[in-house]
Subunit: 279 residues, 2 copies
């Protein structure tokens, strides 16, 4: 499995690198970004996965979250995958911001034609981890976080893989995709109309079914228009966690919206939280 370096940018004494590679799982070329802290030049370091939201690529988080400063200090690598297959031309793939390109939703699509490419769950939990571990000085300890659609992704990756991640957190996650317009559109398209099949990709349902040993840390801005529009449903997550006896630290943040300014304001706390668990 080869990777091609696209760019290397020094950042807080470490390196932000972008790579291109051929994904077998997604059947297309993909780009990912990795931040390697200064400590990675001398030892293997733990890894935080960051899954981004709708319309994002590997670049948004690295440019706007301001995470490298604390990652450098904590000696933690961060990998940002892209948010969907790229370079494919499926019918309607590029027509809307919340389905198709930039909107893979971290599921394995079962409906044609999406199932040929849109297997982002396998990509971020299997193929890309194998590639990353082969090429970079990582110590095998992983945590996962993300924003919005990527917060949903981080939660389901952790919930579906007990013992795999040391910790999980999310910013403004889509907690109950089976019950919100974004999720209904995406899951109908990628998985079909049988809502039973959706439950394997829905944090609230996964928690109700299986609980979680791992506690959940979630920040949600109270002035987030997608929250007030009913796309994120943190109250549903809270109810599911209470029902299943799962530890949830849901922090409602007054005045904050859905943007990267919100993420930047609290990313240090998340990074420190993960670093503690990754020790």
């Amino acid at each position: 499995m080869d990777i091609e370096l696209l760019s290397a940018t020094k950042s807080f004494g470490g390196w932000l690198k972008r790579y291109k590679h051929r994904s077998k799982v997604l059947n297309c070329e993909m780009i990912f970004a990795i931040y390697l802290p200064p400590a990675a030049e001398e030892q293997k370091v733990p890894l935080l996965w960051w899954l981004s939201g709708l319309t994002c690529t590997d670049e948004n988080f690295m440019q706007k979250a301001g995470a490298q400063r604390m990652a450098a200090e904590l000696g933690m690598a961060i990998v940002c995958p892209d948010t969907s297959p790229r370079g494919t031309e499926l019918p309607g793939e590029h027509d809307s911001y919340d389905f198709g390109s930039g909107a893979g939703f971290y599921v394995n699509a079962t409906r044609s034609p999406w199932s040929q490419h849109y297997r982002m769950y396998d990509y971020v939990t299997s193929e890309l981890p194998a590639l990353i571990n082969q090429h970079f000085p990582l110590n095998g300890k992983e945590s996962i976080s993300g924003h919005s659609m990527g917060g949903h992704g981080a939660l389901i990756c952790a919930l579906k893989n007990p013992g795999r991640y040391r910790s999980v957190s999310a910013f403004a996650p889509i907690t109950h995709p089976g019950q919100c317009p974004w999720g209904e559109k995406a899951f109908s398209g990628y998985l079909g109309e049988d809502r039973e099949t959706w439950k394997a990709w829905d944090s609230c349902e996964l928690i109700r079914q299986n609980g979680s040993e791992l506690p959940l840390l979630v920040d949600q801005g109270e002035a987030d228009n997608f929250y007030t529009d009913g796309q994120l449903l943190p109250e549903d997550l809270l109810a599911a966690c209470q029902e299943a006896g799962v530890e949830l630290n849901l922090r409602m943040q007054p005045g904050y919206d859905h943007s990267y300014f919100f993420i930047a304001s609290f990313i240090d706390e998340h990074l420190k939280y993960h670093a503690e668990k990754l020790k």
Copy 2:
């Protein structure tokens, strides 16, 4: 002088606000951004001016530099003006990235048709400060910094206004515009072919003519392609400062390029430096 709020985004407990206003000096509508730290809700705060580089608007620094965290901690407001007049349609104005829109160079143009609008020096040193001071809780203490073209802008604003700013710093500034391709193109266009008139807008020349009571802090990445291409000429700034007995802390940063990742890596140190002088 009225201003119209375009957006208000909570960031590190403070507020990032963008405003539109009619500029008499530039004869067009302009947008600026201001970050108000949490302290500004209770008291008047000092102000850092940030002048951005070629192709930027008021948004780049606020989105990518990661400055709000430390500005919040230090209780410092930051204003980002745009980098040129906007909404005008002068011949060729939008044809190149290094002249016209997005490339005002913080001078007062004297050549027609640019002189009708391109008076960015007066805008950032007179009109906008008056507007800002009228509308926001600022204590009158100002410092100035910037990047590339905006580093040039910060330096000339400070050098042309002794006593006005408490401190000045720059990231990868165009130090000697009269002697580099970017500066020659811009000054020819805005000021005409008489190179004597350029000297009033050139840091190296201003230092040679008038010196500077204010010490200069400059960071320059050694892997910056615009440095190696001879656009930035920090060695000329060093020579001028040595000649004129001006204190220059020129920090060559190995491995860093010209990007906002470079700025983000060192912005905290600049903010602390300015905060100390703004006390």
